[in-house]
Symmetry: C2
Subunit: 243 residues, 2 copies
DNA sequence: CGGTCTGTTGACAGTGATCAAAAAGTGTGG
DNA sequence: CCACACTTTTTGATCACTGTCAACAGACCG
């Protein structure tokens, strides 16, 4: 019943050796099971007192919308990810989160989180680490958009998604199932959908990677990786730092 | 002697009502005073077991360098900011930090931080909040680069720096002292220095903002703000969330 | 006084946006 | 099973924002 081996638990344990109390506290995060339909807005920018979620199944995307209607996707969330932590710590959510597919998730209330931290300080440290890891991904995304060409950006994003999915057993060097549309990629990379399409064709023609029919296939993983300047450093963690 | 009213303490107190133990623990972060010269690399990407710093005086910049030598500045740090937290939580620093000016800072060791968290859990929550606030700034920066024109990006960055400096009493609606070069702005915004220069001239000619001789002057704050779509939401915090 | 760093300007090139339209895929109800 | 609507993918033509290259002026420094 208690998912001691949930993806999140596994992830946090990789950083901090969690005590039984920590594990119990963490298990309590999984009490409220929720289901969302594709397109449902789980958290809306500006919403006060939003909850956080632990994603068990499906993909979500966090984004901001500009006054002129343009959208910038900040990050994608895949199973095992903690999402909406910032909207819990702040009074009002500073970004929106939408279900990209059918989603199964556990809802975590603000009170759950603060209670947990006062009873289980190591857990607080672990969550701080997880939040930092998320920030590292946003930073890499920033570098990606700021300084790489459209081709490199696209390659980098697909490689990062692949790497993250491998960690939770949902992908390998061959590729992974991907429910995103080319519009999603465009909104994440600061490009137009038309240009994304052109670049995808080019990458495919070059025998590097194929994005089609809900699946990403790495046709030449090493060459793609080299071309994108992709380095997993910001995702790796060798073993518990705190014992 | 113990700077109970340091900028960092003030910032954290705005989120969590800190106990005496929390405050004492926090004060212990300020034991190791350090000075750095302009251009000094305080943290180097890949460096193992780096320290964190609390900036008392001067400006720093965190950045990543790509294989081809291009640099992307991720964030600027101004007095009162906590910097390098991620490089403490990770085994190796995932980004570099360089002093832009002469810097006065307190060095915080990894052990300080972990000890603090086990003795003062509320402090851990406060630091998590501060880290999330930093992440919110990186996210806004990402949106800035991904979806805004060069002109809007520049205006937005100058407004954000202004807002942050106002919080620590180093600027007002008139403007602020700014030690950055146009190269810094270019590296932060994903633009070329030449283009930054052109856009700055345009903004100046339009009577919006002037960036010259180490000073940013807001010639028409409201119009600039409107043009950039600048909203301070992601920086605001009304009062302690946790009592 | 020469060297270096920063700021400034012009000419030209190229990446990626925009506009337009068609093809292919997906789902729905009759 | 088909017709229809809608979303997603694809391609072409054109345009503009921004990068690159080059040169020079001014400030600062030893």
């Amino acid at each position: 019943m208690v998912p001691l081996n949930s993806p999140l638990t596994r992830k946090l344990s990789a950083f901090v050796a969690l005590s039984d109390i920590d594990l119990e506290t963490l298990a309590r995060f999984h009490r409220r099971r929720r289901t969302f339909l594709p397109g449902h807005e789980m958290i809306h920018e500006g919403q006060p007192n939003a909850s956080a979620f632990i994603l068990a199944e499906g993909w979500a995307l966090s984004y901001k919308v500009l006054p002129d209607g343009e959208r910038q996707i900040v990050d994608f969330q895949v199973p095992g990810d903690f999402l909406g932590l910032r909207s819990v710590l702040f009074r009002t959510a500073d970004h929106s989160i939408e279900a990209a597919t059918h989603i199964e998730a556990s809802e975590v209330l603000t009170s759950d989180i603060f209670d947990a931290f006062s009873h289980a300080p190591r857990l607080a440290t672990a969550v701080l680490w997880a939040a930092s890891r998320d920030e590292a991904m946003v930073v890499e995304h920033l570098v990606n958009i700021g300084r790489r060409s459209a081709e490199e950006r696209l390659a980098h994003l697909l490689l990062e998604l692949g790497a993250r999915l491998m960690l939770v057993g949902l992908g390998d060097k061959t590729g992974f199932a991907c429910p995103l549309t080319q519009y999603h990629l465009a909104d994440a990379l600061g490009l137009s959908a038309v240009h994304v399409n052109r670049v995808l064709r080019h990458l495919r023609d070059d025998g590097l990677v194929t994005f089609q029919k809900g699946r990403v296939v790495f046709d030449d993983f090493d060459r793609l990786r080299k071309m994108a300047g992709f380095d997993t450093g910001y995702l790796d963690q060798d073993g518990p730092l705190l014992r």
